[in-house]
């Protein structure tokens, strides 16, 4: 048997594969893309190469890496999907070849000024989604062939996978960073209460939009919030951050918790339309003996008085914020015996598949005793088996003390 002579391209192709395989685990996309572009230029004897990625919000393509066209990257070149040469590749999700580059066929002034004569572009797809476009060009006339396109597509597929994996990781890290920066691990030290909180990102679904917040009010009262923006990922975390700030602002100008939540509802309907959040907002009196609270579709907190078992507060529940139905909201008053512990939480703590939510709430109530906030949190987290939870879990414990 006569082995075919190895083609000069084979080794380069092999190197491209090696690069992408290693990069898929290391995920430094910028370095990977630059490496890939250099190699594809060598492989296809092309003079330019570039990767443009989809900016889904803007429905545009953005040049993120280039070889021979570095100006496009520096200038942050953007193109609407459907416009120009790469825009056509993105819109049709099919290879496009341009034999003669001119202002009719190509929109990038960098490409035009660089004197590129011929271009070939392929879509970068991952999981059936368009991730970006990879294109190569030459200064001299050139007919890109079927094998050229096949090779380009192979590299584009690899780059797409690496890009997607990197983006998922980056998004998760960014989401977690937002969540961590907005959820105080050290809660304010205020007279008459001690406070503790916990946040555990969801097991399967990743980080979501749960939050808790505690702030001093100018009157000496204390504002306490636990909320849950539906959905997961960066978007939910960003909406959570906005709602958290907005609620703080409304709490400064309005005393009644129900009215604060009504303002928040208007805010979300107008500025964050389509989002939904459950929120519990409570105002604790400056002598810490009374709590006014309002629930926008949020689960009722548990209260344990000294020497008594924890009990679920009976509380009228109004619509979540963002539902788009401005029905009335109400505020209820709850007495806080000195030395009691109140625990507010999100549904991830008590909701389990195959079980009615009351079961989880009962388990939680049985766990809550009148004890310092930190040990209450520890005991709850140990007893509720959150390792099993799909969803995020946020809890906030408030223990009242003698002032």
């Amino acid at each position: 048997v006569i082995q075919p002579e190895p083609q000069p391209g084979d080794e380069v192709l092999h190197r491209i594969m090696a690069v992408t395989d290693a990069a898929l685990s290391q995920l430094d996309n910028e370095a990977l893309f630059n490496e890939l572009l250099g190699r594809i230029c060598a492989l296809l004897s092309s003079d330019t190469a570039a990767i443009m990625l989809v900016d889904a919000d803007a429905q545009q393509l953005v040049t993120v890496a280039a070889c021979g066209l570095e100006d496009e990257v520096r200038q942050g070149f953007r193109l609407d999907i459907g416009m120009g040469f790469t825009g056509r590749v993105a819109a049709t999700r099919a290879p496009v070849i341009v034999d003669r580059v001119d202002a009719e066929t190509v929109m990038s002034s960098v490409l035009l000024r660089a004197g590129v004569h011929a271009l070939a572009g392929v879509p970068m797809m991952a999981d059936g989604e368009l991730v970006g476009v990879l294109h190569v060009g030459t200064y001299r006339p050139r007919q890109f062939t079927e094998p050229d396109i096949a090779l380009l597509q192979l590299v584009a597929d690899r780059a797409a996978l690496a890009s997607q994996a990197g983006r998922h990781r980056a998004e998760r890290e960014a989401t977690l960073a937002i969540q961590r920066s907005l959820l105080p691990t050290r809660l304010p030290r205020v007279p008459g209460v001690d406070l503790a909180g916990r946040y555990v990102p969801g097991h399967h679904l990743g980080v979501g939009g749960d939050w808790y917040d505690v702030f001093k009010l100018p009157s000496g009262e204390l504002g306490v919030v636990v909320g849950d923006v539906s959905g997961h990922g960066l978007r939910s975390a960003v909406v959570m951050g906005r709602l958290r700030s907005a609620l703080r602002s409304y709490a400064l100008i309005e005393d009644d918790p129900a009215t604060v939540l009504a303002f928040l509802d208007r805010k979300i309907q107008h500025f964050e339309h389509g989002n939904l959040a459950t929120v519990l907002y409570a105002r604790i009196s400056s002598d810490r003996t009374k709590m006014l609270l309002s629930s926008a579709g949020h689960l009722a907190p548990v209260l344990a008085a000294p020497g008594e078992p924890g009990r679920l507060l009976s509380l009228p529940v109004d619509l979540p914020v963002g539902v788009g139905d401005s029905s009335a909201r109400c505020t209820v008053a709850v007495d806080l015996p000195i030395g009691c512990t109140v625990v507010a939480y999100t549904d991830g703590l008590v909701e389990r598949r195959g079980e009615i939510i009351d079961e989880g709430q009962r388990r939680l109530a049985a766990r809550v005793r009148a004890e310092p906030a930190e040990s209450a949190c520890t005991s709850i987290m140990a007893g509720m088996d959150v390792s099993d939870a799909d969803d995020d879990v946020a809890i906030l414990a408030i223990h009242t003390t003698v002032i």
């Binding site: 959905g231 939904l276 579709g297 689960l299 529940v317 979540p320 963002g322 539902v323 079980e355 799909d390």
Partner: protein, 107 residues
């Protein structure tokens, strides 16, 4: 207990359209419900009743609730009336505790 895929049966009746769901209504499947409802609302002519039959749904999380609120909003936009029926106890409880039984017209 692992997540169950969601099956959606679309049943056309004289008074409207029933979306009969079976499986889990959670983050992974919530988008399917919204897409199915949107399709029905956009394709069917005159305004009618949209019934979401939750009889086969054993689990519903906040993403599922959010999807139902979206379906209610879409129904109103198209001039339809939404009704949610046959919720199993655990799903019914979640809707009650979220204050949504009246808004979603849960029967």
């Amino acid at each position: 207990v692992a997540s169950q895929a969601l099956e959606i049966d679309v049943v056309h009746e004289t008074s409207g359209v029933v979306l009969a769901l079976a499986g889990d209504l959670d983050l992974a499947t919530a988008g399917d419900l919204v897409a199915a409802a949107e399709h029905v609302l956009a394709e069917s002519g005159a305004s009618q009743e949209l019934v979401v039959d939750l009889g086969g749904v054993g689990f519903c999380d906040s993403a599922g609730i959010s999807a139902m609120v979206t379906v209610r909003r879409l129904s109103t936009q198209y001039g339809w009336v939404l009704r949610v029926t046959k919720a199993q106890p655990q799903v019914r409880r979640v809707l009650e505790l979220t204050g949504l039984t009246a808004h979603l017209n849960l029967t």
